[in-house]
């Protein structure tokens, strides 16, 4: 048996590994001005405030301000809780995204709209809603309290719950979009090979949509990291337990704007580092 079709011999439509950065115009044609101008303006609009933060940052007193234990406490808590909230969002949100993308049930459109509700809800209202649901006297919270002795408000777990509440929609929407774009016939192919729907999901769909999950997780993580309103409303503010960086920044702003700027810089630096790192590792086609 001679292999008649060595790779390369077949001039099929198989493309090589896609390049990461591709210039759509091939460089020959100029970028149209009606796109270039607003685009550059948008970029400036997004970057200028950050730039101002850098320009006006109290660089000289920065080291002194950042060595306080509260700063590291808040930063550590922020990172831990945002990561935990992201984990919760992935574990619960991916199955929800699958249900929304791959099953049909009455009122699915309505359910999808509900999922995005935390996106439009003012986070403080979200926090109050969480209190009404999961607080010590909440609809569910009272049972958590009396049966298991679990109270979420004023605890780090409460921070995670609040952050997951506002962050999960980002993940669900991102993953659902990826699922819709993913070819459902791979799942069919898996079925013809004897895979149950769950096995097909686990062994085929999940790896296929992994980049989408990673993108959604990064979005959710970033949202959780910056979460303020729902957190302070639901979990309160106690250094080391529920005081995340945004809370520390807000309260510092009350009487020491300089410290607030310093704290914001730390948050900025950390998130840029993490996001850039994740993007390189996960979000490139491997």
């Amino acid at each position: 048996m001679t292999p008649p079709d060595a790779p390369g011999a077949a001039a099929g439509p198989r493309t090589d590994r896609p390049r990461r950065l591709r210039t759509g115009t091939g460089g020959r044609r100029g970028v149209p001005l009606p796109l270039l101008l607003p685009g550059v303006l948008a970029l400036a609009f997004l970057l200028l405030p950050l730039l101002a933060l850098l320009v006006r940052a109290p660089w000289r007193s920065l080291p002194g301000q950042l060595t306080g234990p509260e700063v590291w406490q808040a930063l550590q808590l922020s990172l831990v809780s945002a990561t935990a909230a992201t984990a919760v969002s992935v574990v619960l949100g991916v199955p929800l995204a699958w249900l929304l993308a791959r099953t049909r049930f009455p009122g699915r459109g309505f359910v999808r709209a509900l999922v995005t509700l935390p996106l439009v809800l003012p986070p403080v209202v979200g926090g109050v809603a969480l209190l009404l649901a999961l607080g010590r006297n909440g609809v569910i919270g009272r049972w958590l309290d009396s049966w298991f002795g679990i109270t979420l408000p004023f605890t780090t777990a409460g921070v995670v719950v609040a952050e997951a509440f506002v962050a999960m929609p980002f993940l669900v929407i991102s993953v659902e979009g990826t699922l819709r774009a993913a070819d459902p016939r791979y799942e069919e192919a898996a079925a013809t090979l004897g895979a149950s729907r769950f096995t097909a999901f686990r062994r085929v769909t999940l790896p296929l949509i992994a980049p989408g999950i990673a993108a959604g997780a990064v979005l959710a993580w970033a949202r959780a990291l910056g979460e303020f309103g729902a957190t302070i409303t639901f979990a309160g503010n106690f250094p080391g337990r529920t005081q995340t960086m945004p809370l520390a920044v807000y309260l510092a702003l009350q009487n020491d704007p300089e410290a607030a700027v310093s704290l914001s810089l730390v948050l900025l630096a950390v998130s840029i580092t993490v996001l850039a790192g994740l993007r390189d590792r996960w979000m490139t086609p491997s």
Partner: protein, 270 residues
Amino acid sequence: MTRSVRRTRRRWQLTGAGAAALMALAACSSSTDSPGASGTTASPKLSGTVTVFAAASLKESFTTLGEKFEQDHPGTKVSFNFGGSDSLAASITAGAPADVFAAASPKTMALVTDRKDTAGTPATFVRNQLQIATVPGNPHKVSSLKDLTRSGLKVVLCDRTVPCGAAAQKALDAGRLKLTPVSYEQDVKGALTKVELKEADAAVVYRTDVKAAGDKVDGVEFPESAGAINDYPIALLKNARNGEAAEAFIALVRSAEGQRVLSRAGFLKP
């Protein structure tokens, strides 16, 4: 626009001077009680809009007084901007168009006087005292500040960076008490909400807040609060566009009638 930009820049330069100096200035300026806004209740030809920036806790009483003012002086309109005293002060120093500023603490007023944005010296028009807010019926039998230090009791305080938190800390210090709350809330409403929703058993807030919450919380007086009374200063602003009407409004606030409205909301006379 250019003006506000310049102001912001100035403000930034000034922040470098440090919070300690700021605090000292605040203490100085608040102690004086100015006669700048007295008398002249019957100026006949008032018109136009008076823009009042006032602390959020003044919302109910000032709204009532605003309506009264408009009745007394047809052709005038009082427009309010209620908010946290700090952010109001920040927007005033950044050039926001306002005629009157009524702050919840001398410290926040000082932010404005420091910038020489007031016309004349601010006057204290009411004072607010701390109370303990408990869940209705006071099931935990809280009767003193010391009771709040009992273990197992969930207490919320305002953060020390906001006035009610600073005052609570002062009261605790006066009573030599050490209290670990479950949360330092970012403002007094946040603290009160936690008690209203029964997430916390008690909070240290202002009398006026307890009063405004109606039967959703119970108020408990405590003697240490006497040492942490908050003065509310009011001042005419330098860039007031309707100075006469603004002065008349300040006069109304400080008049017997104004004080009646304010004390109904739980404020103390200066």
